[in-house]
Symmetry: C2
Subunit: 325 residues, 2 copies
Amino acid sequence: MTKVAIGIDIGGTSTKLGAVDENGQIHFQCSLSTDKYADFESFTNVIAKTIRHELEQGTQYLELAGIGIGAPHGVRRRGTIEHAANLPWSGVLPLKESLEDLLGIEVIVTNDANAAAMGEKVFGGAKGMDDFVMITLGTGLGSAIISNGMLIEGMDGFAGELGHVTYNHINGRYCRCGRRGCLETYVSATGIKRTIFKLLADHFGPSELRGVSFDDLSTKMISESAHRGDQIALEAFEYTGKILGSKLAETVQHTNPEAIFLLGGLAQAGDYIFKPAKKYLDESLLHVFKDKVQVLPSELLANSAPVVGAASLVWHKHNHELIAQ
Amino acid sequence: MTKVAIGIDIGGTSTKLGAVDENGQIHFQCSLSTDKYADFESFTNVIAKTIRHELEQGTQYLELAGIGIGAPHGVRRRGTIEHAANLPWSGVLPLKESLEDLLGIEVIVTNDANAAAMGEKVFGGAKGMDDFVMITLGTGLGSAIISNGMLIEGMDGFAGELGHVTYNHINGRYCRCGRRGCLETYVSATGIKRTIFKLLADHFGPSELRGVSFDDLSTKMISESAHRGDQIALEAFEYTGKILGSKLAETVQHTNPEAIFLLGGLAQAGDYIFKPAKKYLDESLLHVFKDKVQVLPSELLANSAPVVGAASLVWHKHNHELIAQ
């Protein structure tokens, strides 16, 4: 009999779900289309049905230890998803309550970056660290701050909105939040695409990216171009890393972390992003912090990180209760 | 028999020391010159002697519950003062160890802003708050962040260096830390003096501050001039509050606090500083945070706040242990 926690990662288009044991091993994993469900109730019903079905189907007997969920605007202390613009359902969604009613087991809800941070702490490179920061680089920039071994959630559960700290509020890039110059308009998969297009506009030299549309352009393509020495691609990484590093200095001066982990497509570009980020971070720091904070790639596998992170909410709570006893 | 905690506030020129009971009442208070003691050992000997003397002198029998100390660059987890530029002794000073050896009672050391934050939580306006920020506005800008009811200290104990987040790193004001444009070069008692002198240089209109030297100018004089309608003084407060508010937005987006407390001479200017700070804070915030965070004056009396704050380190620990039992 193996104890597993179900990790659920709710995204705008698809929701991933998997069973993760105490060692981080995944026993099953599946996904469903989030945007297929017009009302929230049918969505939670299908989630519950899928979990029951998968647990019964397995060749191995799996005992359910709990359910952890990472979702945009997920708030742990209320167990809700609140006003998430990229989900099909508006308002405040009682996710914890709904699933607990349906499945009779404890459900922990938080936002996706917090789930990733917990995954890093339980199963990844942040084992044993009490003070670190997780930056998730996807369409936007998500973040989570762990201090004193605990997630910083703040009064309303909205702490860690580093995607919307301001890099340039006067003539900065327009942000989907309605303001200008937010960090994620520069540092994210979308941000680096915007930078490529800015550089293609500013310069007249050749670039293999001149033949690619904004919609077709991906972080992977930019990395590959950089690898082949494309000057526009190389400069875009330098520019992105510089802004990331100089803004992370402010985060370090707030919370003095041991490490900052980067997760997501942009983080997979390796040295192209890590080198300038680390360089400009150290340049921007007050002397007492210089050369002390590590900037590291997440040790979670990118494609399973959200599910493993969500499941780790359950394992972290279990470990914590064991220690407190 | 009354239990008291000794609170000690170590500053560059003077050290204040007082006995504070569980209700925040001060039973005795005295001060000594920090810069009179060339070596750290004589300083701690005098501190110990003073405490013993005061306890024996009192008409009332006082029982010592512990000693709390706020000091520049004080680090709680190591019980040390580390490389404090404005104290007469260099290097790492084993403050906790020295005083515990001399007095045989537990000593808690932290930095001055952390002590003030604890004072606010135990005796002031932050009672019952688990998430708040304390900004101390003196010669420089100090800060402390409380999240999940605990001080954020970070890996090295240096968290909360908001005085050195960057407002303008390109052509900003020179800072004593060696960098440019740090927040405290604009927002502090010294910062607003620099702003007055910048405005006196930029404008040609009359101001009652044209007759005052930089050395003679004080926050109190600027407040009084503002009160009499002096345009330079009024504009200096608006400018200072604007920079404070817009930078505090980043702090709010990191930690989502319930309130931000301002303590110190500049905070005593009331609406002159609070109104623009609050206005530009709300203007700079992401929508989920808007109009939610309070900006409040510290409820601790300015002249006894450092001593009461330091003593509250002891009472907070006692309360915490009582709850944990």
